[in-house]
């Protein structure tokens, strides 16, 4: 086959790859062995494996926002234009200055940071910049990723993870049983093990057999996903799949680079296979020391011969398959087998039994010789490639995440899946790994690597053990063994073996660390999906949003709502615009969008009884066309929201409450209706979004409303039905500003016409639009409360200064809890006002103290200005505050380093008698 070659670069060098080759295969094919530098010691590293377990060959690919560090060269298929760079080296991979660290590795043992960098935190910030440069993986990209990541649900009867022969058989059986099957494979090809070890299955070439099963899965309504890894398994067979739609760094054709699947499966079959274990000997990390099965993969699948003189060092039979594949490809091969020679068996290759590696010799250009003990004697074997096999570790992380247990397989020297808690079963090599011996570490322990990615050596494990780190969990954290993206795929079993040998216990007794998802790295973008940038959270647009946008306001993200904060004129700042708008409301008139208020229509013969349960104020005596301020308590007696209640008909009321608490209030009313008042004949319908609403406030507001409706404006706390710009409206006389004011509620589909009519009249009357900033100034000065900062669910109505309004007849939710003795404590926090003695702004959120350093007795909930007169004021919660009016204390904010002397006052700074409400 003469398919065109693919052009790519590695560290700027132009290279070519054959179609279907991984970056690792292509580099080996080009004779490149040095691929990276190690994390801590900057040791030269090559390619160890042929899959997702690769700890050494980590590269950065792509550019700009598509730059992706720490990509495994063994899990990256070369594409046209691929730009791959090695990591953690300067100035170049072959001449890395950091390599000097390997010469002083004795000074950098396990726990080095903990032992060395003592001192104040600021000093650590100084050290850190050097450490970050000296050690690490690829730097995180700094630009925004331009691509999309999809998130998608899926449902199936059987999810098969892994498409080796065992997984394919499970998929085939499920299809035959009429099941909907999902078959998932992290490789780009199905049945990758059959590419490494071609075989005939059921009388057909293995690949043909695999393809037929995949077709059967698809035609029966299932899916086959390649380049997809199962990253986590949760309760009830809920599995997350991470699918690569393109290769890392590649530009997607349709804008999408990955898809994250949320799959609910009836049954999960884990055919996740096993990862080959390295042998532990000195310099086992040199370029040219590879895992045996990986060597076979490169030879058979990718047509690449990684070395010509090869030593295969094995503890099991699988190594012989590699030896034969190498020989068939023309390599010279010697096998070192840790086991005694079997009687009467000839493998057709030079074999040395009772043999184990002690040390590799070579440098950054690769291994040159392997020193081994053979039947007790030390021998050196010249070679340019070492293929090692220390047995196989079943991939059991999904089984464990599903709450499963592990059993110890003595013959394989490995943990295998045991009891399961969910409908999850493991098949194939993950359940029944090949028998293998465990061979202890040999050679200089300072150069015998257990965890290649985190540069953890046998010596590090021994030191940690000597220093008392006996628990595997502690040892992991002290040495960094199996941390980060590696997750101990190749190193954990060797480490457990070492710990067990030091402790004089068995490996199962040494224990295991926790199997946390993800086993293989998942892009942050995949977890975020389309929720990025300004869409990182849902954005709610009020019905009048487009009209505001045309007036170019300063926006405020109030919860999920996008609300105008102020409408600056010319070069006005936010503060200037807010103050101007507030002053216009105090002296003339202003209009503000209050559509986001929660609104509920409460109807039925028992509507009054329902409302008198929900509201702490009286509702029963409310006359038709009248409204009142109200507040609501939870069952614990503490106030959690407030609003107004209006009687629109004999059995029809409109209840409003806070914007921020709208969802909570909807849930609460549903609960009260369904559980606490199930016997009442009442309906509660949320009309928050059905009604848009505009507040018109100021001494000229009645004049504006009269002009718009051509009738006298209703008196304070009255509601009438009227028409504005041809649209039916509810006109409620209510104030949140301290001025005569109205709320106009109307069908949101009429928003534009009503807004424009009111705006024209307001502007003609010398008024203004105003936003949340002005609203805050106005309401703080008046002492009106906001749910969240002021009404925070921790104070009673009495403590909020609302005691006079409470329905004395009782019956409201929370009443019985107010008899608790603690509520009689007069030293509980109470709502108060504060005025700055020296005129400085009072920091919002600051602590209230008698003197700086004293215990905090409260905090500032909202801070503002006297709108017309100037001077800083605030609302606050203060212990025993209602009896402390006139007292001088301090508002102290250590985080802002501000301290303001304040006087405790009533929270009503403006028109405390409420005379301005009335005409």
């Amino acid at each position: 086959m003469n398919a065109p070659l693919i052009n790519f670069t590695f560290d700027g060098r132009a290279l070519t790859a054959k179609p279907g080759q991984t970056l690792a295969a292509a580099l080996l094919d080009q004779g490149i062995r040095l691929v990276g530098r190690s994390f801590k010691y900057h040791r030269p590293r090559g390619i160890l494996s042929a899959g997702i377990e690769e700890p050494n060959a980590l590269v950065t690919v792509g550019s700009g926002g598509r730059e992706e560090p720490n990509t495994r060269a063994t899990d990256l298929y070369v594409y046209e234009g691929l730009n791959a760079r090695s990591q953690n080296r300067w100035p170049s991979l072959s001449s890395d200055v950091g390599g000097v660290l390997s010469l002083v590795s004795k000074a950098l043992p396990a726990g080095f940071y903990y032992k060395t960098f003592f001192g104040p935190p600021k000093l650590w910030l100084f050290y850190e910049q050097f450490i970050r440069r000296a050690a690490g993986l690829g730097p995180a990209p700094t630009k925004a990723d331009p691509d999309h990541y999809a998130q998608r649900a899926a449902f199936c009867d059987v999810l098969v993870v892994g498409s080796g022969p065992a997984g394919l058989i499970a998929a085939r059986d499920a299809v035959r049983a009429g099941k909907k099957v999902f078959l998932v494979e992290q490789d780009a090809e199905l049945a990758p093990s059959l590419l490494r070890d071609p075989a005939e299955i059921e009388g057909k070439p293995g690949r043909t057999w695999a393809g037929e099963i995949a077709t059967a899965v698809r035609t029966s309504g299932g899916r086959v996903l390649t380049r997809t890894s199962a990253s986590g398994l949760w309760d009830d067979q809920f599995v997350c799949l991470s699918e690569k739609l393109i290769e890392p760094g590649q530009i997607p054709a349709n804008g999408f680079s990955q898809r994250y699947w949320h799959v609910r499966a009836g049954e999960v079959v884990l055919a996740t296979g096993a990862i080959e274990r390295p042998l532990t000997f000195a310099n086992n990390d040199l370029p040219g020391v590879m895992l045996s099965q990986a060597v076979r993969t490169y030879v058979t699948r990718f047509g690449v011969l990684p070395g010509k003189r090869v030593v295969v060092a094995t503890t099991n039979d699988d190594g012989y398959l590699t030896a034969r594949a190498l020989m068939a490809a023309g390599a010279e091969v010697v096998v070192l087998d840790s086991r005694p020679a079997p009687a009467g068996h000839s493998s057709g290759v030079e074999v040395h039994n009772l043999a184990a590696p002690v040390m590799a010799r070579g440098g950054k250009r690769g291994v040159k010789a392997l020193v081994a003990t053979v039947d007790g004697a030390e021998r050196s074997f010249a070679c340019d490639l070492v293929a090692m096999s220390g047995g196989f570790t079943p991939v059991v992380h999904l089984h464990m995440q599903a709450g499963g247990k592990l059993d110890w397989d003595q013959a394989a020297q490995a943990f295998v899946p045991g009891e399961t808690r969910q409908n999850v079963r493991t098949v194939g090599l993950a359940a029944e790994p090949q028998p293998a011996e465990t061979v202890g570490a040999a050679g200089n322990p300072k150069a015998a690597f257990v965890d290649f990615q985190n540069d953890v050596t046998v010596s590090d494990l021994d030191l940690a053990w000597r220093e008392g780190y006996r628990s595997v969990e502690h040892l992991k954290r002290y040495t960094t063994l199996g941390m980060a993206t590696d997750q101990g795929k190749t190193g954990n079993m060797a480490a457990l073996d070492r710990i067990a040998r030091r402790e004089g216990i068995t490996i199962p007794e040494a224990g295991l660390t926790t199997f946390r998802p993800p086993f293989t790295p998942v892009s942050m973008g995949a977890l975020a999906g389309l929720a990025t940038g300004e869409h990182a959270q849902p954005t709610r647009h009020p019905a009048l949003y487009d009209l505001h946008a045309a007036r170019n306001p300063i926006w405020l993200n109030a919860g999920y709502w996008k609300r105008p904060r102020a409408y600056p004129q010319g070069a006005e700042t936010l503060a200037q615009a807010g103050l101007r708008e507030a002053r216009t409301v105090r002296t003339a008139v202003g209009m503000c969008d209050v559509s986001t208020l929660a609104k509920f229509e409460v109807q039925g013969p028992d509507a009054v009884q329902f409302l008198e349960r929900v509201c702490q104020t009286t509702v029963g005596k409310l006359a038709l066309g009248r409204g009142r301020y109200t507040f609501m308590a939870r069952e614990d007696g503490l106030v959690f929201d407030d609003g107004t209640v209006w009687r629109l008909g004999d059995q029809r009321y409109l209840l409003t409450s806070s914007t921020g608490g709208a969802s909570r209030m909807a849930t609460w009313l549903s609960y009260v209706r369904g559980h606490l008042c199930a016997d009442l004949k009442v309906s509660v319908t949320c009309v928050q979004e059905h009604y848009a609403a505009i507040a018109v406030a100021g001494p000229k507001s009645a004049q504006v409303m009269a002009a718009l409706t051509r009738s006298e404006a209703p008196r304070h706390m009255s509601v009438v039905e009227s028409t504005i710009a041809g649209a039916p409206v509810l006109l409620m006389a209510a104030s949140f500003s301290g001025e005569r004011a109205f709320e106009v509620h109307f069908d949101a589909s009429q928003a534009e016409a009503v807004w424009q009519a009111i705006e024209a009249e307001v502007l003609a009357t010398g008024g203004t639009l105003y936003g949340i900033e002005a609203m805050e100034l106005l309401r703080i000065e008046k002492g009106h409360l906001v749910v969240g900062p002021d009404i925070d669910g921790r104070l009673t109505a009495e403590e909020l200064g609302l005691g006079r309004m409470v329905n004395k007849a009782g019956g409201w939710i929370g009443q019985s809890c107010l008899s608790r003795p603690d509520f009689a404590d007069k030293q509980r926090k109470q709502l108060i006002g504060l005025e700055a003695i020296d005129g400085k702004a009072i920091p919002e959120g600051s602590m209230l103290v008698r003197f700086v350093g004293a215990e905090a007795e409260g905090h500032v909930t909202a801070s503002g200005l006297r709108v017309l007169e100037g001077g800083s004021i605030a609302l606050a919660h203060l212990k025993g505050g209602q009896a402390r009016h006139g007292e001088e204390i301090y508002a102290h904010s250590p985080t802002r380093r501000q301290t303001v002397k304040v006087r405790v006052t009533s929270p009503h700074f403006y028109d405390p008698a409420g005379e301005r409400y009335r005409d």
Binding site: H148, A153, G255, R259, H535, H541, K681, V682, S683, T685
Partner: protein, 159 residues
């Protein structure tokens, strides 16, 4: 790419019907007036769509319904708060799997089936109109956000 058409229909004249007390007599009167029973959980019929055990979303002739309702419940306008979006084409079911945890690809989710689900954090009520289309009732404030989500997602649907 799997084809799907996303058309915003805007707000409509919708009401929420709620029943209180013993619903049976009222439901009987309504069934007589409408010519069919109030649809059960997960179903729609004619102009009526079931929302919750005691509530339905209704469109069309309110006068007949209001008369039949009498004092057995309430009829409240809610249409100003809901934007209707029609999804059609071969990919509409696939699109509904994006950003959700709901099996829109199930054959059981057939014409006149109703489901209230979370899609991209938005509570959406879906009514299958036919095998060719589905109508989504979306809170008006979140419609822009969800439309954007669907328009982007439609470009990356799996085959």
């Amino acid at each position: 790419m799997t084809e799907v058409s996303i058309v915003e229909l805007g707000r409509g004249a919708l009401h929420q019907l709620e029943l209180w007390g013993d619903p049976a007599p009222t439901a009987t009167r309504i069934a007589k007036a409408l010519g069919h029973a109030l649809p059960p959980a997960g179903r729609a019929e004619g102009d009526v769509l079931r929302l919750s055990p005691t509530s339905w979303l209704v469109s069309g002739d309110m006068a007949t319904l209001a008369k039949a309702l009498g004092d057995g419940g309430s009829l409240t306008p809610v249409g100003g708060g809901l934007v209707q979006i029609r999804l059609s084409g071969p990919g509409w079911r696939s699109l509904l799997m994006e950003g959700s945890l709901f099996d829109a690809e199930s054959a059981d989710f057939a014409a006149d089936c109703v489901a209230t689900v979370l899609i991209d954090h938005v509570t959406v009520t879906l009514r299958v109109e036919s095998e060719a289309s589905c109508l989504a009732y979306v809170p008006a404030s979140l419609a822009d956000d969800l439309l954007r989500f669907w328009q982007i997602s439609a470009g990356g649907l799996p085959l």
